[in-house]
């Protein structure tokens, strides 16, 4: 923790960054919230422990945060993967963000460019956790109607608060498809059809872009396991097309490219 605070103090004092984005105390003791530190004397607020699970990369594309100047951002593996994916989508330029890679031992590594982030992530496991894999396998083992009932039941409590969208660093569109009203594609009321359509659309729009940070499900006030939808798709995309999000700053978008020999066993 001291290493992180010292690093943040140094960076702010010598002016190499204008703001440090990290985790600070939340309004209740067991929660952390994002803090934006602009002066060296504020760094006491920074900490890093297992309360810190929000994906801070969500702030990197926000105009009001960009206006603060060059940021340094505390980087868990999930945050670093998000940065690389944002880079692959041309949302941030190389050298525009300084990442502070943190690991379990409290060491802090300065990662000034995308190359260093890629190298930092390379030895770390990218696969889903055993727990997540087990959840996916459990759903896939169900019969079709069981899966349908499971998801309709899970989604029935969705409030359409869009916390999942707000928490996702890759849901950065200025105008979201769900808010389009001429024509209205997805009803805005928390009606079962609109809810299902919203979650399908969200998953499709994140297909092959999701970096499996799990922030959407953690942000969900009703605890709906919506991260499984996007995680399932990212697994499928990796398996079928060999494209894994968040491993490299240069990467094709799965639905923006094709191979002439893509499987078409389902097309007559």
């Amino acid at each position: 923790m001291d290493a992180l605070r010292n690093k943040a103090r140094d960076l702010l004092s010598d002016g190499s960054v204008q703001v440090v984005i990290g985790y600070g105390p939340g309004s209740v003791p067991d929660q952390a919230r994002a803090v934006f530190l602009r002066r060296p004397e504020q760094v006491g607020a920074l900490f890093f422990d297992d309360r810190c699970h929000q994906n801070l990369a969500v702030y990197l594309t926000k105009p009001e945060v960009k206006a603060l100047g060059k940021p340094a951002i505390v980087g868990t593996p999930a945050i670093l993967r998000s940065i690389l994916q944002l880079a692959a989508e041309n949302q941030i330029a190389d050298g525009q963000v300084l990442a502070l890679g943190v690991d379990g031992d409290g060491r802090v590594t300065e990662l000034p460019d995308f190359k260093s982030i890629e190298d930092f992530l390379a030895p770390l496991p990218a696969d889903l956790s055993p727990q997540e894999q087990e959840q996916l396998a459990r759903i896939e083992a169900m019969s079709r109607s069981e899966r349908w009932n499971y998801w309709i039941d899970q989604l029935s409590c969705c409030l359409r608060c869009y916390a999942c969208r707000a928490a996702c660093p890759l849901c950065y569109c200025g105008r979201c498809a769900v808010e389009a009203n001429q024509p209205q594609w997805i009803p805005v009321a928390p009606h079962p059809r609109g809810v299902l359509e919203w979650h399908l659309a969200r998953a499709m729009h994140l297909a092959g872009r999701c970096v499996n940070c799990g922030s959407c499900a953690k942000a969900c006030p009703l605890g709906i396991p919506i991260h499984l939808l996007t995680q399932m798709l990212s697994q499928e995309v990796a398996k079928r097309f060999g494209l894994q999000a968040g491993r490299s700053a240069k990467r094709e978008y799965v639905l923006g490219t094709f191979k002439p020999d893509d499987a078409e066993d389902f097309i007559r």
Partner: protein, 149 residues
């Protein structure tokens, strides 16, 4: 009670399948009248939301058809579409949506007979499956009026 007549929406591309379906008519080949054809510029334009919209509007089945690979009027629209369907079908299957309700085909402008055969086969399949109760029930919950844009 009258026999169940499936309601099928077909999203077809302007350049191949629409012309193919036209040929079916000019050749006076008779086929199931259950299909409502919607012409779009290219299969690449067929957003997955269009498919969901069709089911929300009461369709029991959906057909998506366009040019054969390599024949796209816009060079690669159908290749992009194919990828999108691979991913979308997987997602629908994962949430337990009956993917046997959505059928895909490549039908060229010369394949009038194939179009008739394909529509007949899909109609027969959907007739066997019966009305799409899963989705119709979901849509009817709360009696929300459905506005088709």
């Amino acid at each position: 009670m009258t026999e169940f007549e499936p309601k099928i929406v077909a999203f077809v591309c302007n350049w191949c399948t629409y012309a193919g379906a036209d040929l079916t008519g000019t050749a006076r080949i008779k086929y199931a009248p259950n299909v409502r054809i919607i012409r779009l510029p290219c299969t690449g334009r067929i957003d997955f939301m269009l498919v969901l919209k069709a089911f929300a509007g009461g369709a029991d089945g959906v057909i998506v058809s366009g040019c054969h690979p390599g024949d796209c009027h816009y060079t690669a629209g159908n290749y992009h579409a194919r990828r999108r369907w691979i991913v979308f079908r997987k997602l629908l299957d994962f949430v337990g949506f009956d993917i046997d309700r959505i059928h895909f085909a490549w039908v060229s402008a010369a394949e009038g007979a194939k179009w008739a055969e394909f529509v007949n086969a899909v109609t027969e399949r959907i007739r066997q499956l019966g009305p799409f109760e899963d989705y119709h029930k979901l849509v009817a919950l709360g009696n929300e009026p459905i506005e088709v844009a």
